[in-house]
Amino acid sequence: MKFWPLIWSALRRKRVRTFFTLLSILIAFLLYGYLAAVNMAFRLGVDVTGADRLVLRHKVSFSILLPEAYAGRIEATPGVVEATHASWFGGIYQEPKNFFPQMAVEPEGYLRLYPEFLLPEEQKQAWLADRTAAIVGRNTAERFGWKVGDRIPIQATLWRKADGSSTWEFNLAGIYDGAEDATDTTQFLFHYDYFNEARAFAKGQVGWYIIRINDPARADEIVRRIDAQFANSFYETKTSTEKAFIQGFAKQIGNIGAIIGGILTAVFFTILLVAGNTMMQSVRERTSELAVLKTVGFSNRLVLGLVLAESLTLAALGGVLGLTLAWWAIGRGDPTGGALPIFFLPPQDVLLGGGFMVALGLLTGLLPAVQAMRLRVVDAVRRA
């Protein structure tokens, strides 16, 4: 710590240059943090999905429905503990831009399969007791200012009612929270029974199945066994782990991870050049000062350490400010206004960001630090 004034004063030497370098590092880490949240959103929390959950859909397309009667056959498959189903509703609340996932589900089965959805017991009972009731995740409830007891009208885009109307009204019975940051709290869930009875067509058909298995290590074997049962039928199935299912879903949009990785590589490479150049210039301008330090007894290794500490300080300061700003911006909501089900700065990316700061500091400081270490006092004083 006794060398800190020396490191800090070196950074303050050219304040404008340090400020702009700091700003560029800050922006790089702001971008990194924000894109990490976007990446996580597109992976839909793939890293935290239940390892014991499988998803079964129609082999050809996610949009082709499956018979409700498959449930019994799926549950009878060895290795399967329980199965439930969900159906995509895809309605509009007030305006098309107000997107959030709406699904018809079997309430009890769905909540058992997704224990990470935390719903107060009295709200759960209220939902079960009212066939036209729905529950919603905290994220969506806060987005639209909904409270328990509100009546929520949803305009169907596909699922007209048998009576010809396309407005579905639901009593909001509960608001669930997520057990983890990565839990999706945007879903709007309502009774499948009510939906099935009231819809005009496709009765008895569901969107997909969610299956709990007894041993995640045997997932491949169970998947094969389930799909084999429905092979060569009109409703052939494709079962996968929930993780693979979500990855596949995200890939429909594009390889977001690769795109983000490409952007960040370009950004960090540029920053490496900018900060590296700053450090080189800074050391070049201080040759006589470094010579003085060596004259009074600073060892080569200590001079190397001081220059590295300087570049590390610059990288850490810019990085921490950038990630803090990213955290703040992410906290204000996702850029789509709530359409991304999960939007937060993952802790593992914060840790990785810390690693990037150290790497950036070392890489940008190494060359000037070695130059400073090798500086010969007599040459430096002569040059000055």
């Binding site: 006794k2 020396l6 003085v292 600073f298 060892s299």
Partner: protein, 231 residues
């Protein structure tokens, strides 16, 4: 060889520089003894090797041949890290252009050598205040170099050189960039350090007026030392 009273002993010192294919013999078989408590002025024309000799005594450069001994230690045989440690304990160096760090206050500049010593912050502060008081700048501790005159800057540099109580003070044209009044002040200060505190000083200078303040003067010409200037 000299007595135990000899602080600096230089024997058969050679320093050769190469500039392209040209060989420059800056110092040739040079011998020198500086007793403890001496104030020696080294004079000579430009390029005579005065600063080179000073750098060799300070361990800032390596001789081509010969021995440099300070306080009984062979400087020319030390490794770079040993030299750094040794300099921090035994050498105070004063440059012609003061070479203060412009981003540090006078106090912080003077503190630099003490950062290498196992001293608490309070102890460092005490030493710094004492050194600044010796050079008459206790009231300028918080000033930056740009807020000081040339003479004051050099006095801060002297405070930095003496703050760790080194065995030997090496001064490379310490008054070369000063007006006459400031020069007199600096020379008086160096004299006081020599006479009152017993500091051994080797000073390189062009200026006979400065050399006159030393206890003795040696002349360096064409790589060799003599007691008298060449005619």
């Amino acid at each position: 060889m000299g007595t135990d009273q000899t602080l600096v002993r230089v024997e058969n010192l050679h320093k050769i520089f190469h500039r392209g294919s040209e060989r420059i013999d800056v110092l040739q078989a040079l011998n020198l003894e500086v007793p403890r408590g001496d104030f020696l002025a080294l004079m000579g024309p430009s390029g005579s090797g005065k600063s080179t000799l000073l750098n060799l005594i300070a361990g800032l450069d390596r001789p081509t041949q010969g021995a440099v001994e300070v306080g009984g230690e062979r400087v020319d045989r030390m490794t770079e890290s040993e030299l750094a440690r040794w300099r921090s304990r035994h050498i105070g160096f004063i440059f012609q252009l003061y070479n203060l760090l412009p981003v540090l206050t006078a106090e912080r500049n003077v503190e630099l050598p003490l950062l290498l010593a196992p001293l608490s912050r309070a102890a460092r502060k005490k030493h710094v205040q004492a050194a600044l008081a010796v050079v008459g700048l206790a009231d300028r501790a918080q000033h930056y170099p740009r807020q000081l005159s040339g003479g004051q800057e050099q006095r801060v540099a002297i405070a930095r050189a003496i703050v760790a109580d080194p065995t030997l003070l090496l001064c490379d044209e310490p008054t070369g960039d000063l007006d006459r009044k400031s020069e007199d002040e600096i020379l008086a200060l160096l004299q006081a350090l020599n006479r009152e505190q017993g500091k051994t000083i080797v000073m390189v200078t062009h200026d006979p007026h400065a050399a006159a303040r030393a206890r003795r003067t040696l002349y360096l010409n064409k790589g060799t030392l003599s007691a008298e200037p060449l005619a």
